[in-house]
Amino acid sequence: MYCTKCGFVTRGIEEKCPYCGTNFVPEKKIDHKLMFLGWLEVSPRQLVKLVCFNLIFAAVVVDLILNFGFDVTHLHFTPWMFFGVCSFLFLFNGLIFRNRKPKVYFLNSLGFIFTFLATLILSYQNATLYGHDLLFWSFGCILPIYVLVVYLCSTIYFIVKRKYNIWSTFFYLIILFLISTTLFVFTLVNLFGIKDSTFASVINYVSFVASLISIINGFILSYLQIKSKML
């Protein structure tokens, strides 16, 4: 940041000149020379993401049309195709183009799991697996296991990185809590036959308790952090 009044320069967090008090003019974050399409302010990485997103979206639309519009059940894309493509995108975004923000990983995984479940349910509407339909497997097993895995990964991340941001943590916690509460309600009202299965009920209860514990601990940690900041 550059102070136009006294010439002072700082590379740091100050918003105004510490010596003369003049407000710094905010810098443009985008380096136009590094942009692939300068006029659009799109970097090559963003462009790849945009193209991939559009391809996926087009595939979903085509699949839905084929699934509901025509009687060609064996022609439309399978959930395993989506599993493959989404896994590739997830790895592509996460590993090759590294974006170290945990929020991006979280949203990617959320989008991935819901897309996968939706295609699974829509593609095999009347299919059963080990005596249960796919709605049971989706809401009774895959989703609660996903919630538990996210909790496990975020706990490891928290311990390793020692980063705790109140607002972003609550963003994850609220989404996960809503998912696990919905699944818990499904268990109580015996939707999709979840209550009849001991395994599905237990895994749903565990994910709900984990969410409850996390959100309570989140409140306590946030309270302590706000208190220490106020001091």
């Binding site: 010439g7 002072f8 320069v9 700082t10 590379r11 740091g12 010596y19 380096d31």
Partner: protein, 283 residues
């Protein structure tokens, strides 16, 4: 042509830097061609010498300096070494002839502050700023309290203070540092400015200590730097055609690359601090 000069920190290697500057001036480089300077740590002191036109006086001081231990240096700095040095080369009537930036690490916000020293800077203020930039940890005190903030040596977070040139566009920026593995920052590389970085300690053998201020060591470095400065001027800055300077500068860097590769990095602590700063991604 607007020429910017960046003088990096490097403890005793500042002597080689001063020798390099003297070599350039004697070879024909006119001091008045410099538009702006930026100095960190010992480079800040050298920048002051250049700005006041007292390179010879500063060289004399360096050549007579004989600090045999860090304890002695600590004692000297505690006893207002910077103030004494300023008194030697800077009288109250004199003013800076070239504006410059002095770097300090603000401990309160862990950010780098670049103090602007204009042509009308007061001696007292300059004294404070120079004291900040040479706050070698455990030598001139761990930190210094100036301008209501805690400060550490400017080299703590930016030992090669190129950053002010992001806001002050130049035609040519000469970066004189002592990091064999230094690469100029991207905002300079992608700008229209011609950037030439020189490892002023490239000709100093690994046996010449970075941390020793003893007379023999300093004199040896000044002599080596002097010859190197002359050679650099004759090879790169012999005329004022910017395009030709750029080509010759790049050629010079390519020639020096092999020598620099073989060098050990003598400033490990500063390298780590700089990595900490860059990891914060302020830019």
């Amino acid at each position: 042509m607007k020429i910017g000069l960046v003088l990096g920190g490097g403890f005793a290697r500042g002597a080689a830097q001063l020798g390099f500057l003297k070599g350039m001036f004697e070879a024909g480089f006119d001091r008045s061609e410099i538009t702006l300077m930026s100095g960190s740590s010992i480079g800040g002191i050298n920048a002051l010498g250049v700005s006041l036109g007292k390179v010879d006086k500063l060289e004399e001081l360096y050549r007579t300096l004989d600090i045999v231990s860090i304890g002695y240096l600590k004692k000297m700095l505690k006893n207002h070494f910077v103030k004494d040095l300023l008194d030697e080369i800077y009288t109250d009537e004199e003013k800076l002839q070239i504006p410059m930036y002095i770097t300090g690490t603000c401990m309160s916000t862990v950010s780098t502050h670049y103090f602007y020293c204009g042509l009308d800077s007061e001696k007292e203020e300059l004294d404070k700023k120079l004291n900040i930039t040479v706050t070698f940890p455990f030598v001139n005190g761990v930190v210094r309290r100036e301008f209501n903030k805690w400060y550490l040596d400017g080299g703590g977070t930016d030992n090669i203070p190129v950053y002010p040139f992001k806001y002050n566009e130049m035609d040519l920026v000469l970066i004189l540092h002592c990091y064999p593995k230094y690469v100029p920052p991207h905002f300079m590389v992608y700008s229209n400015t011609v950037v030439i970085d020189v490892d002023i300690a490239a000709r100093c053998s690994n046996g010449i200590s970075t941390y020793s201020f003893d007379k023999k060591n300093l004199n040896e470095m000044i002599d080596i730097g002097y010859e190197y400065g002359k050679e650099f001027y004759n090879k790169v800055l012999c005329d004022r055609d910017l395009k030709a300077i750029k080509e010759r500068g790049q050629q010079f860097i390519r020639e020096e690359a092999d020598i620099r590769k073989k060098k050990r990095v003598p400033l490990n602590a500063a390298v780590i601090f700089n990595k900490v700063q860059s990891s914060r991604k302020f830019e």
